[in-house]
Symmetry: C2
Subunit: 501 residues, 2 copies
């Protein structure tokens, strides 16, 4: 076996491999605060790219960014009964406003609040309250806002990026005059996620609607995108909710229609979070560590001068500087190519492996041999570590955009092939249970099976196999009715079943 940078490998222990990829790429670490992580520079730089690029798309669909308070009065959260019961078990509650010295000299909470404040687990309640003030007339509709914020949900079992007590996200909120318009809006915004996640993160997704049991608390419909990780489990990568009038009625968000009658609005909300980073890691990385899609990579190219003789140093460094400069002048998807020169030659072999583990798409070496004829030795991260080719610096520069686009496309196609290879149409109860049996190494993945819509069947399968309906692919126009293998009843269409994060 070839040496791999990550121990254990995916094959040996996938969950532990994931933690080691995060660690060796220096993306994040567990913090001493229960269930929270510290996002380190490499992880945060990736989040900045995601944030910047998705923010542009959100603005393109007419959302204005705002910022609402972190703290939500308990009475606000309580207004929508289903909503609050969905989050009550995981709320961080602020009860005091200062600290004073107790009898033993230790600080204790003091200044008890009249009303407890909840750290936002999501912002429908507080933003809905603002909407109720901002919306008076039909001329105020539609209203579309977005917020980049931190969220706290007191999770029992946490895993870096995938499920943490505090996480960063974006939440869009809209209000509309009609149900149809609001439902269309939530579908349009789902499509923003499909495009972003597929085109920028190179993660193929299946879009659909959640079954009623998996809906967001308070929603009429929850639409979602689901991606397949390399362990064949699903990751819910984004959701878009048609909230009906539940929040509008609970928070009295209403407008005067053109006849002057007061009507409640119809609202939506939609969000993605730092969880996307977990998805990028699990879809693309290998046993040598992180592998980043070029569109969102904090660096596209790392240039490493290889200096064996001091006499060569000046010339090699000058060529590296010139190459970096020329690459930075090139535009890749509306921004300059991101290039770094890593001249830490004293690190020896660790220098290259560091960038392999961090997943930089293109690694370039310039040593005495390359400097002599203005060439460069190149490794692409998705090919084996030792697979290198030497070409002229001019050619590298001329082809760098095409190379990055090819890598992006390759990563997407590879993930799509994997997803397709592990998606199976299943028509019998027996085959379904066999597919998800613990000892079936060939099995797992996405099962496309009919379902009659009965929540009891869903619950039993969840108990038996830890398998859930990831989504009902309601946007798939080729979907056909059939027979549910669990009830022998009519099923309107196949749904996607999988184990999930």
């Amino acid at each position: 076996m070839a040496r791999t940078a990550i121990t254990p490998t995916r094959e040996e222990n996938y969950p532990e491999w994931y933690q080691q990829v995060v660690k060796s790429a220096e993306m994040a670490e567990v913090s001493p605060v229960r269930g929270c992580m510290i996002i380190k520079p490499w992880g945060y730089a990736l989040w900045e790219q995601i944030q910047k690029q998705l923010d542009e798309k959100i603005k393109d669909v007419d959302h204005d960014n705002i910022y609402c308070p972190l703290l939500i009065p308990l009475s606000f959260l309580e207004k929508e009964a289903e909503h609050v019961s969905g989050f009550a078990k995981e709320c961080a509650v602020v009860t005091h406003s200062k600290l004073v010295k107790g009898d033993d000299g230790k600080l204790v909470p003091a200044g008890p609040l009249e009303e407890p404040l909840v750290i936002r687990p999501t912002s429908e309640a507080i933003i809905g309250d603002a909407f109720a003030r901002w919306i008076q007339s039909h001329r105020d509709l539609p209203l579309r806002i977005n917020q980049w914020a931190n969220i706290v949900r007191w999770e029992m079992r946490t895993r870096m990026f995938l499920r943490t007590t505090e996480f960063l996200w974006q939440e869009g909120h809209t209000a509309h005059a009609t149900a149809d318009e609001a439902d269309e809006e939530s579908k349009r915004n789902l499509q923003v996620y499909v495009n972003f996640v597929q085109d920028h993160l190179a993660m193929p997704v299946i879009k659909g609607e959640k079954s009623p049991s998996e809906r967001f608390p308070g929603a009429t419909a929850t639409y979602c995108i689901e991606a397949m990780m390399q362990d064949k489990k699903a990751l819910q990568a984004g959701t878009s909710h048609f909230l009906g009038q539940s929040f509008a009625k609970a928070l009295d968000i209403a407008y005067s229609d053109d006849q002057g009658h007061r009507q409640h609005v119809w609202t939506t909300s939609w969000g993605v979070s730092t969880r996307l980073i977990g998805g990028i890691i699990m879809v693309h990385s290998d046993d040598d560590g992180l592998m980043l899609p070029p569109r969102v990579a904090p660096l596209h190219v790392v240039i490493m001068p290889i200096i064996h003789n001091e006499a060569d140093q000046a010339n090699i460094m000058a060529q590296c500087e010139s190459l970096a400069q020329k690459l930075r002048e090139i535009t890749y998807h509306c921004a300059p190519i991101r290039v770094k020169i890593d001249a830490n030659i004293e690190q020896g072999g660790r220098r290259a492996w560091n960038w392999v583990k961090k997943g930089v798409p293109i690694r370039v070496e310039v040593g005495a041999r390359e400097a002599a004829d203005n060439s460069a030795t190149i490794n692409l991260r998705y090919t084996p570590y030792k697979e290198k080719r030497t070409c002229s610096q001019a050619l590298l520069i001329a082809e760098v955009v095409e190379t990055l686009d090819n890598i992006q496309h390759h990563l997407f196609q590879r993930a799509l092939d994997f997803q397709k290879a592990h998606t199976k149409i299943i028509d019998s109860h027996e085959d379904f249970y066999a597919f998800f049996a613990d000892d079936n190494k060939e099995g797992h993945g996405f099962a496309l099976a009919h379902w009659n819509g009965d929540a009891a069947i869903e619950e039993k399968i969840k108990q038996d196999l830890k398998v859930t309906i990831r989504c009902i692919p309601v946007f798939d126009e080729s979907a056909e009715a059939g027979i549910c293998p669990f009830s022998s009843e009519i099923s309107p269409q196949r749904v996607i079943w999988a184990k999930a994060y």
Copy 2:
């Protein structure tokens, strides 16, 4: 008197004028959460410009962005005694992790935490804990990180942007091997603020050091920038702290020096917040509302088609679109000119006033007359509302960058002239008290007076006049020693006294 858009005027009631500028520009509103505000689209778009432009400067001085937890265990905060006592009176404390139904059916906090968590009032304690893990060897130094985050301090008296319970900020944190290097770092980062606030926000500032009584809790030295508002009060616009070894020792942040001996590091921190928006408002705006410095304005140019006859509409709109497109192709300080066409002609006169109140630097009208000869009628926000000139669209395009730069320069110079006109050298106790007397309309502003360094004098003046030492201009090389008028003792240099926000 000419009509003004804002009631009351600055002259009539400055604090209320401020609130009305915020309101009429739709920048923010008071939220139902005590002491917190909702930052609305126009205010948030301004913050996005500030954040983006300052972030570039922070990266230029080698800070990497990270994200640390919102919640700090009480035991962490307690480690540095001076630090915690400085913040204990204004801490939001999380004591419970869920909500359950009480006997009356109402939700009550449950799941009490073993250790209370404090919502970060600043992050030295939690980032210092990370530094203690990340720093092992002298090769790990210097370490420079930055974080964009929300902060909660339970303030008793709040005012939008200037002092709110929750606010947004940036906090840089660094660690160094020597005291000199750390002190130099904190001075260098102060200079980043001087350049940013003066060049981008057009706010002239005076830089200096805080007196010991005004230092950040736990700091050895606090450097700051102070700006003069139009009511002649000072606003502390940014601070940079040399923290000595107080946090390094409290949190055991240490490295092995090149002899292998364990040494505590020297740390610094530096921050600016959404308070800067309050500064922009109070320095530049007038009785017609907000006035934005072009560098950070969310929009540079608003184009308003003026349509009286439907027959003209197509031609006028086409010219507006073409003009907007050509302007957007122009680069102003490394980004495209930000242009909007406002075609809401049914709003009548309110349409133009809306943009006046929002402070957009350049307002352009294109009506039938202008469309006939490809001209445009222009008003610059800093000139009177009715002061318009008509020029060719070609000239507007050719000169737009110069025009924006001129406006930027004009705003800065006007504010600097105001600051200088209201800064007075004072040498006697009597003159000092007269300068700050409530009924002295010509007085107030910045008083440059000697001070012997006695905190008791500082405290008495604060009690008598609500005047504090804003800073000791330690970077002013022309400073000379003299006699303190309050003690008749030797004073090393004049200090700046003022009332402050």
